[in-house]
């Protein structure tokens, strides 16, 4: 399965200035949470899914596979919200006795769970729109534009680079361990994992020192100054985005005030 990072790098929307993509996908999360309406959630879910697949060029099968990832949490989480326990079975629509009490679902519980489930799916699709279309480096730049402190952005982008560096090393170590039977059995697995983690730690300390020296050679003095590639970024029509957001907002208000559902 391709990583989200690779999807973002290949996205047809990657050249769109990141601010616009955030402006497009983030407000609907807030609206979906606030409106708390199944039809509105479905609207957002559909809109974002279509944008990811049709505009972003992600294969529907890939998108669906990614949607299944949070499904585990979604199922357990919503089921936990729906199911209740009570001494009085009459409060439940469906129930079964369990020990001295009854376990079952109430009408409000089911409604709450259904709202929750769709709301979460809608929000996740918005998050996916950003993740599928926007490389992390671009996000770093837009954080600067809204006044996030430079140190935080520097740290974020360094962590981004180092995550892949360490992933590479961790998987090399794990492969070498597997080839010497490192994961045959629980005791061996513990031993292998512990040595993997400690070696990775030592490696990362050493690598950070090497990087420091290499950066010093290029004049590092404590501030990481870099220049972003000159923006060949496409600027989509701000009015278009505003129109979509406004329309969504109207539907959200209508849904919230009970015109739908």
């Amino acid at each position: 399965m391709m990583t989200l990072d690779e999807h973002a790098a290949r996205s047809r929307l990657r050249d769109v200035a990141p601010g616009f993509k955030l402006l497009y996908a983030l407000p609907p999360i807030a609206m979906a949470l606030w409106a708390n309406s199944v039809p509105f959630s479905l609207l957002v879910f559909g809109l974002m899914g279509a944008s990811i697949v049709l505009k972003g060029g992600v294969r529907p099968a890939d998108y669906l596979r990614w949607l299944l990832l949070p499904a585990g949490f979604l199922v357990i989480g919503t089921a936990a919200v729906a199911v209740d326990m009570s001494a009085h079975p009459e409060t439940f629509v469906v129930s079964a006795p369990l020990g001295g009490a009854n376990i079952g679902v109430t009408a409000t519980g089911v409604a709450m769970a259904a709202h929750l489930c769709f709301r979460a799916l809608a929000s996740v699709s918005c998050l996916y729109f950003v993740a599928f279309t926007t490389p992390v480096a671009d996000l770093g730049r837009s954080m600067a534009a809204v006044g996030v402190p430079a140190l935080f952005i520097e740290m974020t982008l360094l962590v981004y680079r180092f995550v892949f560096l360490l992933f590479g090393t961790a998987s090399e170590i794990a492969t070498a361990q597997r080839s010497r039977l490192g994961y045959a059995g629980t005791a061996a697995s513990f031993r292998s994992l512990a040595s993997l983690a400690s070696n990775l730690f030592v490696f990362s300390a050493r690598r950070s020192e090497e990087l420091y020296v290499a950066m010093e050679c290029r004049g590092y003095d404590g501030a990481i100054r870099v220049l972003a590639p000159s923006s060949g970024a496409r600027q989509p029509s701000l009015a278009g985005i505003a129109l979509v957001e406004a329309a969504l907002l109207c539907v959200a208000i209508a849904a919230h005030s009970g015109r739908f559902f």
């Binding site: 391709m2 090399e172 170590i173 492969t175 070498a176 597997r178 080839s179 039977l181 045959a184 061996a188």
Partner: protein, 288 residues
């Protein structure tokens, strides 16, 4: 004498998780008791092939056979396989993970669950063999690069595999170090009859230390056969991002461009000496 095949692939196709095709229909036989060179440029698929011999990389289609049996990818099957097929990776830093040399060499043996006396005997034997016995109690990370490579090798040899896979064993070593490790491997193969597969792009050492060669490019096998016959396919070598050994290149130019009448070709210094001496003798006879 044709040795039986100990490892074989049939239409092997492997794909990395990100979708890159690592191996694209590889049919290859590794003969028992010989040293086989896997040659190719960066990204040709050499390392992937080694990983699939060890059962780490699973085929998308096609299969790998050890002896006459297709690989068994169950936990038990892999355990049995990896005991017999050992792999030494290119980067020793990624495969030495214990805090001391001795402990690291013991890693694979402990996972085999051997009794302690046997484990200790094998560790000592392996350390003796590769010449790191005096480092036993040292921590791993301050060792030199060459020492680390030897310790990594000992960790695999201690498991007494019948097939040894080596990924770029000479990378990062200076000429004497590289020569030393290849001589050691050749010696090991001669004395213990071990089967060795060496993935490398160091073409110079192939005629010196290998019996057979397989040239790879972009996940495919371009050539498989005796080392001596490989160099008749110089176009394939170039296609794979390689070149002739310098001696072979010199002799080639001498005979094709400079009008030397060479009675054969050679890839090594000793081979070239023979040919040039022959040429000289012929000239002297003709001259007289």
């Amino acid at each position: 004498m044709a040795s039986p095949d100990i490892l074989r692939t049939e239409a092997l196709r492997c794909v990395w998780p990100d979708g890159t095709v690592a191996l694209d229909g590889v049919d290859l036989s590794i003969r028992a008791g010989e040293v086989t060179a896997l040659l190719g440029g960066n990204g040709a698929g050499k390392s992937s092939l080694l990983l699939s011999f060890n059962g780490i990389l699973k085929p998308r289609s096609g299969r790998v056979l050890f002896g006459e049996e297709p690989l068994d990818y169950s936990a038990k099957g892999l355990k049995a396989l990896r005991q017999k097929v050992g792999i030494v990776f290119q980067n020793p830093d990624a495969q030495l993970f214990a805090s001391s040399v001795y402990e690291d060499i013991s890693f694979g043996l402990c996972n085999l669950g051997l009794p302690e006396p046997e484990t200790r005997r094998r560790i000592d034997a392996a350390m003796e063999l590769v010449g790191v016995a005096e480092l036993a109690r040292k921590p791993v990370h301050p060792l030199s690069f060459g020492q680390k490579k030897r310790v990594a090798l000992a960790g695999v040899l201690a498991m007494e595999p019948s097939v040894l896979l080596l990924d770029e064993p000479t990378a990062g070593l200076d000429p004497q170090g590289a020569d030393g490790i290849m001589r050691f491997i050749r010696e090991l193969q001669r004395s213990s009859g071990m089967t060795v597969v060496v993935a490398t792009h160091d073409i110079e050492m192939v005629p010196l230390f290998c019996d057979r060669a397989c040239v790879m490019d972009r996940g495919q096998v371009l050539f498989e056969g005796e080392v001596t016959s490989m160099f008749e396919h110089r176009d394939l070598l170039r296609q794979a991002g390689l070149r002739l050994p310098r001696i072979a290149h010199l002799l080639e130019i001498l005979s094709t461009k400079d009008g030397f009448d060479l009675p054969g070709t050679a890839m090594t210094i000793s081979g070239a000496r023979k040919i040039l001496k022959l040429m000289k003798e012929e000239q002297e006879i003709n001259g007289k």
